[in-house]
Assembly symmetry: C2
Homo-oligomer: 190 residues x 2
């Protein structure tokens, strides 16, 4: 049913994600993607008819990656501390490349997003918050993590620290982000 299978669609998704995390959704064009991949503008439209379709699939891909992270952390023998660290590591990787998290980037454009993307973004945020909340709740129960707030509120606090932290790092330098990470782990594990 196919003719000449390529990896163009995946490359567009990968590049779109990179552009959003580096410049923002409204600061890259189909022409930017086409130029980088050495294809024509219309080829991008072939895979993603509208820019909102591309955005929705990028957010969906991010959702799937978090589902994968969640599954990989369900294996036995991983401490709550390690689970939180795995979550933080994702942000640290972004930070080291001068990128910001998808939620922070697309979130600041929230009022200009097509409805489809708004729905996907909400799904993503709830997924991430739920994931962190679960780790916190279990970690507290096991006595591996300490915090005075509810798991729900603490998950919000951690996530906002990290999301805004990677943005702050681009403005005032990476040491501010590092300080956040150190403080978070110290708070949670003593």
């Amino acid at each position: 049913m196919a003719a000449r299978p390529t990896d163009t669609k995946e490359s567009i998704l990968r590049l779109g994600m990179e552009f959003i995390q580096t410049y923002g959704y409204h600061s890259f064009s189909y022409a930017d993607i086409a130029k980088e991949l050495k294809i024509k503008n219309a080829a991008v439209h072939y895979h993603f008819p509208g820019k909102e379709d591309l955005l929705a699939e990028i957010v969906e891909q991010y959702i799937q990656r978090y589902h994968e992270l969640a599954r990989s952390l369900e294996k036995p023998g991983i401490s709550s501390r390690q689970k939180i660290q795995a979550f933080i590591n994702r942000y640290t990787a972004l930070c080291e490349h001068g990128k910001i998290c998808l939620i922070g980037s697309v979130g600041s454009d929230y009022n200009t997003l097509p409805e489809k993307a708004k729905v996907k973004l909400t799904e993503l945020v709830k997924l991430v918050l739920g994931l962190v909340e679960k780790v916190l709740r279990e970690g507290k129960k096991k006595g591996e993590l300490t915090f005075s707030e509810t798991a729900r509120v603490k998950s919000i606090l951690i996530m906002t620290n990290l999301a805004a932290g990677v943005q702050l790092a681009r403005i005032t330098g990476q040491q501010d982000y590092t300080a956040i990470c150190n403080s978070l782990m110290k708070q949670l594990t003593g």
Copy 2:
């Protein structure tokens, strides 16, 4: 030296600020401002030749407002708790109008900003962090505020909670932002 003094320039600044906090810097145009103020496109260019000039002045205005806040909090008889609350109240006011803070909005566009705006933004961030840090340091010394981190790190944690918190509120609802505020005040004042 003038002919027909108007308040057009101030209106443009006010509207530009509103647009940035509601839609983002790259999601409004001079035409949007002109339409709203019932003037022509070129009239906006008369007051702000380039969009980057407008942005720089908007950030500068924000800086001045924080200087004013700082001065108003220097009066005697204001507790550290009240000073922190005054800072939080600014974010709460934004949140109630579906807006996000200028730093969060412009910060997520950082890599696409003209150099002039980058410099101003950095100045603003350092000002705000310094302001909060000072209140925290004095509050701790007086025994009015409690936190285990350094004043510097705690100021970063609070600011990232609030900046990302107002963005989160647009996605998952205002109760998440309220939870952040309650938790912050509880942590600091017991």
